[in-house]
Amino acid sequence: MDASPSPSPLLELRAVGKRYGAGGTAVEVLDGVDLVLESGASLAILGPSGCGKSTLLNCIGTLDRPTSGEVLLEGADWQRLSPREIARLRARRIGFVFQLHHLLPQCTVLENILLPTLADPASPPGPEAAERAGRLLERVGLSARKNHRPGELSGGERQRAAVVRALINRPALLLADEPTGSLDAASAESLGDLLAELNREEGVALVVATHSPELARRMARTGRLHEGRLRVS
């Protein structure tokens, strides 16, 4: 996939559907979701637990395959790509922040942040990546903790480190699935601020799945997922 600016929107969902199971017990989680998101835009997806927010993010982020519809990233439906191309797309263009930080306990914060650079052969060379990691860590206030292990960090610090890890390869799209879900109020607010600022500073489009109205308010647009359909306001 070409990383150069394209006339197509960064992300376009066309009638995306996702069904689990078959026959009478089948559950329609997503039902004809349409969405257009431009580069640098931000969107919060709200909805109750189990409404399909994570499923939608996984379908956008190539982690899960929709049952129907198209997911176009920079004009191309990733479903038509080979597994290798999908992996490369994820490495280069998409960043993830999960509800749980998923930092590797065996690596330091800096090593965790640099881990995605190993996934992409086209990643900047080691020193350059380390420099960017350093800048980002400073930006999120973790430069003093870069050689610490995740176990030595607070929940908020871990999640900030996870955000930096998601940004290290300069993705065009950052997907955050309940990023504040496991944080206390102060840490959640701080992380919300950070995501909003990074969205502006890094020019990365941001889709956040959350049921936190506070976090949603920091995004440019808000979408509500209800009975499988997304209504964006």
């Binding site: 994570s54 996984n58 982020g61 982690l63 899960d64 597994p83 290798r84 992996a87 490369r88 797309l89 994820r90 490495a91 280069r92 998409i94 993830f96 999960f98 749980l100 998923h102 590797l104 306990p105 065996q106 690596c107 800096l110 090593e111 640099l114 881990l115 995605p116 650079t117 190993l118 996934a119 992409d120 080691g126 990546a129 890890r165 390869n169």
Partner: protein
């Protein structure tokens, strides 16, 4: 950040979980390296033993006919070929303390001089020794006991150039007794292990001064062995061809009186009386015009009422004054014609003895018509060969030619004849006619006569006769010894095979632990996938991480292999001594072996890890990332149906294999593997059914049983390990054989005989027919399983086939293609393609000792220096005949004419009574060692049983490891479900009830594993049970299976108790 850094970080961080992989690889590499190390050590030790027994000897000459050559030949060969040459006298005898205690049989008596000791780089241990001084090797010193300086008596058969089986060979069985005192005990480094036989069993040896021994056995200046150091056999034989004399083949060309009857100037005769047929033919070819003669002793020559006793008669070809005589025609000398009053045309009858194969004399008669009467003037005694007991005897009354003689029949005129004419023949018959009645396996001529002078004839014969082909050949004994050691029973392979299950169990456990560790890190794999790592790369990293742990384990395992090898060698020297009798093994491992063990161990571990990691990266990242993702993947109903089908197919295939393959090892293992596979597939179907069962389970036990289906992979791996272990343990246990089980039966390995006896010196009278079967013995390499070396030339036993056939002794396993097994011993008389000699041997000798099968043809050296083809026509199960091939006595005597008498006996219990007892008494004096046949069979079976014991012990260790795996599975299952158990506790279930639940769940696996293993073993060994009768034992293996089941259950219980310890409710909070 680099991939390598990530790997190192992970390796260190998860070091505890990697420990399992490390230990698994360590065990695999240690067992592999150790097993190969055992092989290296055995080979190294056998090589060391071979070099110890041969010192610097590279080639050796031992005349194949058992003859003697000039001692001086040694110096002459050394002068031609260089190197060190040592002539020796090599005899067989017994040694005992004078009071008869400590009787040692099969002692080699070696006459040596300083040249012998130099081959071991030492000083002459017998320098200046008196006639009563000797040196003994350490083993004999130990066997004789007492103070080495105490006197002992050596009894050795006085060698005769003429076979004791030959007619007119004198009185058989003469032996020389030497009262000696050992002045030195010779250890291995100084030549104490000297032997020309490829065996790890050190000989019992007495060393005597060569010259003294030559005198004692009346062979001055002669030797019957020549050891050569620093010269290869080929060069030695070339030197031999240049240096040899006719005397080295016991031949002599002597001048004849010019006025002899035949006008011959010279005569070739042999110290062995009868000229070997091949040598005679070569001599005839070398000197054209030679005329053959065969002189024999007639018991009586009779014309009507007149008879002349004990007269020499010569069968000769026409020449000079010897007339041409046709069949049935005779020429009498004038003295005999006058004595009998015979005239031309009269018919005379003479009687003579022939010797049957059983050395029994038969008096026969032949009728001839007088065609000529020869004058006495030109008759001389040169026609008579030097018959022992006749030649050189002054009076007829002192004759002792080894046949019954009624000396009272000798008349004064006979004495007068002997005094005047000595051995001049009283009559001549045609050569062909004479050979037809007196020819024997030792030859059909007593001399060849030439018109040329002796000097010229001798020169021509030396040039034209090849001594090497005539049986005077150097053998490359050093190369043969090293080859025998190299081709020895591969203990490395053996231990590798025996340890296979242990290795498999270690690897399976390792793979299981690896899977568990990967399951624990499922989120990490999900994260890597989400970050854009390709699934293959995630798998590669997982594998590389495990690989690093495995590499560390394999390296440590290579070092630990030395310990395993030392333990195994210690086992072979102690509890498994039966597997390698007299094996003195020293640990030795080649660097390549260590590298190979570590490499193969690592590769095997990597294969197991690759198998375990095959699913890594295949599950979607989202699923892996979701905390608490369902790890349980029970088998579907469809998988259950497939497995049920596979189980039925496996069962059918196993039945087919058993029906077709009978009791072969291939059928046993093939059917066993199929049955196990069918059982495991059936278990999978059962687990699928459990998983799909609808409706609530009643009671804790039912819930527990259903739990076994939650992790079918783990459950099936546990079942597979237990089933395989139980199968091997039961099957090997059941195959242990009891030599006493059927010993009295004719069809057993004892042949139904009560005793097996061997004598050091040949016995010339067979036991009474009803009391036993005598066997002639050609000593070759011991091809039994007691010899660790690969037999280069097997030994042969000669037997009258009918003696065994009439008794229906022994049972036949198989016969050569095209021959009927039911013909049994009569197969030995069946003509074979290409004139091959039919031979029968037992399975251990044929298959393992010689690497042959029924129907195979191979070439063997004969007793004349040539070779002959042998075909294996029948194979017996384990028997007292192990170590040798059995051929018919007739063929034996044809191929080994020099072997006289019998040296092995299958004896009935009745031999201790009546005529048998008298025979036994006589045989005792020939160094007889008589052991119960069942004990001899037991010695052989001990080897097989020891192998089975090793297999069982190592298999048992594997099973222990397998049951440890079960404990790990229990622990893991409980740890994963602590939340579930916590909930149950919260609902009011007592801790004991939870333990019972866990135990029930895993008891299903134990029951399935042990049951499948036991049933598979029982079915697979069924054909052997039918074939062996009831030689196989059942109770022990059954007990073992039950003990194993108990052990596995105990492991489960312990693991459940330990895993359910601690406050479970914390787990509930974690949920």
């Amino acid at each position: 950040m680099t991939a390598f850094r990530y790997l190192l970080r992970s390796l260190f961080f998860y070091r505890r979980t990697h420990l399992g992989v490390c230990v698994g690889a360590l065990l695999a590499a240690a067992i592999l390296t150790g097993s190969l190390g055992v092989g290296d050590s055995v080979r190294f030790s056998l090589r060391r033993l071979a070099l110890e027994r041969l010192g610097a000897v590279s080639a050796a000459l031992v005349p194949s006919g058992g003859g003697f050559f000039r001692e001086r030949l040694a110096g002459e060969i050394a002068a031609h070929a260089g190197g060190q040459a040592a002539p020796i006298l090599l005899l067989r005898g017994t040694a005992a303390r004078p009071d008869g205690s400590s009787l040692c049989r099969d002692v080699q008596i070696v006459g040596v001089d300083a040249r012998f000791w130099r081959l071991w780089g030492g000083a002459d241990l017998l320098e200046g020794a008196t006639a009563s001084e000797a040196a003994v090797n350490d083993r004999l010193a130990e066997r004789l006991g007492g103070n080495p300086g105490e006197p002992f008596v050596v009894r050795v058969e006085e060698p005769s150039l003429l076979s004791r089986d030959a007619p007119l060979s004198g009185n058989a069985g003469g032996s020389v007794a030497l009262r000696l005192r050992a002045r030195a005990v010779v250890d291995a480094a100084r030549g104490g292990r000297f032997s020309l036989r490829a065996s790890q069993v050190p000989p019992l040896t007495v060393f005597l001064p060569l010259e003294g021994l030559q005198k004692e056995i009346h062979q001055p200046g002669r030797a019957n062995g020549l050891l050569l150091g620093g010269v290869e056999a080929e060069a030695a034989n070339a030197a031999l061809r240049a240096a040899w004399q006719l005397a080295d083949l016991n031949l002599e060309v002597r001048p004849l009186a010019a006025q002899g009857l035949e006008d011959a100037r010279s005569e070739l005769h042999s110290g062995q009386i009868f000229l070997d047929s091949a040598l005679a033919a070569a001599a005839r070819e070398a000197v054209p015009g030679a005329r053959g003669a065969l002189t024999y002793l007639a018991n009586e020559i009779r014309l009507g009422e007149k008879a002349a006793p004990y007269s020499l008669v010569t069968a000769a070809e026409e020449g000079g004054a010897v007339p041409a005589l046709g069949q049935g025609e005779i020429a009498l000398n004038a003295w005999l014609a006058e004595d009998l009053g015979a005239r031309m045309g009269d018919s005379v009858v003479f009687k003579y003895y022939t010797v049957g194969n059983d050395r029994r004399l038969q008096e026969k008669a032949a009728r001839f018509t007088v065609r000529a009467i020869l004058p006495m003037e030109r008759l001389d005694a040169s026609w008579m060969p030097p018959f022992p007991g006749l030649a050189g005897v002054g009076n007829c009354r002192d004759w002792n030619p080894g046949i019954p003689m009624d000396l009272s029949r000798i008349r004064p005129k006979d004495e007068a004849y002997w005094k005047t004419y000595r051995g001049a023949p009283k009559a001549f018959v045609g050569l062909r006619a004479g050979q037809a009645i007196w020819g024997n396996r030792f030859g059909a001529l007593t001399s060849l006569r030439f018109s040329d002078e002796a000097g010229g004839v001798e020169k021509v014969l030396r040039e034209r006769i090849d001594p090497v082909r005539a049986g005077l050949a150097f053998q490359p004994v050093r190369a043969q010894a090293l080859r025998a050691g190299e081709g020895a029973q591969d203990f490395g392979g053996l231990f590798l095979g025996f340890s296979f299950f242990l290795i498999a169990a270690a690897l399976l456990l390792m793979a299981m632990l690896f899977v568990f560790s990967r399951e624990q890190r499922a989120e990490e794999a999900g994260l890597l996938l989400a970050l854009g790592f390709e699934p293959q790369r995630v798998r590669r990293w997982a594998l590389a991480e495990g690989g690093l742990a495995a590499a560390l384990g394999a390296l440590a395992g290579a070092a630990a292999g030395a310990l395993y090898a030392r333990l195994a060698l210690h086992g072979l020297a102690t509890i498994w001594r039966g597997a390698a009798p007299y094996g003195e093994f020293r640990y030795h491992a080649e660097p390549l072996t260590l590298a190979l063990g570590a490499g193969i161990g690592f590769a095997a571990a990597m294969l197991a890890l690759a198998w375990a990691a095959r699913g890594e990266g295949k599950r979607p990242a989202a699923e892996l990332l979701a905390r608490g993702a369902e790890r349980e993947r029970p088998l579907s109903a469809r998988a259950g149906r497939w497995n049920a089908g596979a189980g039925v197919l496996g069962l059918a295939a196993a039945c087919a294999v058993l029906a077709g393959g009978g009791r072969s090892a291939e059928a046993f293992f093939g059917a066993g593997a199929l049955l196990l596979a069918a059982g495991i597939a059936g278990s999978a179907a059962f687990l699928a059914r459990l998983a799909q069962r609808e409706g609530g389970a009643r009671g804790l036990a039912a819930i527990g049983v259903r739990g076994a289906a939650r992790h079918p992979g783990r459950s099936l791996a546990t079942i597979a390990v237990l089933a395989s272990g139980v199968f091997l343990t039961i099957a090997t246990g059941a195959f242990r054989q009891d030599p006493l089980a059927h010993a009295p039966e004719r069809g057993s390995g004892t042949g139904g005989f009560a005793w097996f006896a061997r004598t050091t010196l040949p016995v010339y009278e067979p036991p009474p027919d009803a009391d036993g079967v005598p066997l002639r013995v050609w000593e070759g390499d011991d091809a039994s399983c007691l010899n660790l070396n690969r037999a280069q030339t097997p030994g042969f036993l000669g037997v009258r086939p009918e003696a065994l056939a009439e008794r229906r002794a022994f049972r036949f396993l198989e016969s050569a293609p095209g021959l009927a097994r039911e013909d049994g011993w009569r197969l030995l008389a069946a003509p074979q393609p290409g004139g091959a000699v039919p031979a029968i041997g037992d399975e251990a000798t044929v298959r393992w000792g010689l690497g042959l099968a029924a129907g195979d043809v191979f070439s063997c050296p004969d007793g004349r220096g040539g070779t002959f083809p042998v075909r294996i026509v029948g194979v017996l199960p384990a028997s007292v005949l192990e170590g040798n091939l059995v051929i018919s006595e007739q063929e034996f005597l044809r191929r080994f004419p020099g072997e006289a008498g019998w040296r092995a006996f299958l004896l009935e219990a009745s031999v201790e009574r009546g005529a048998g007892a008298a025979w036994l008494e006589g045989a005792q004096g020939r160094g007889m060692e008589r052991v119960p046949a069942s004990r001899r069979l037991g010695d052989f079976l001990a080897v097989e049983n020891s192998y089975l014991a090793i297999f069982q012990a190592l298999g048992g260790l594997g099973l222990l490891l397998g049951s440890a795996g079960l404990a790990v599975v229990v622990g893991r299952n409980v740890a994963e479900r602590r939340g579930e158990f916590a909930l149950m506790q919260a609902l009011g279930f007592a801790p004991g009830a939870l333990r019972r639940l866990v135990l029930c769940e895993h008891a299903v696996l134990v029951a399935l594993g042990v049951g499948i293993g036991a049933l598979s073993a029982a079915v697979a060994i069924l054909p052997s049970v039918e074939a062996e009768g009831n030689g196989l034992s059942w109770m022990g293996p059954l007990g073992t299976a039950l003990a194993l089941a108990g052990c596995a259950l105990a492991w489960s219980g312990l693991a459940a108790r330990m895993s359910l310890r601690g406050p479970l409710l914390e787990a509930l909070r974690g949920e």
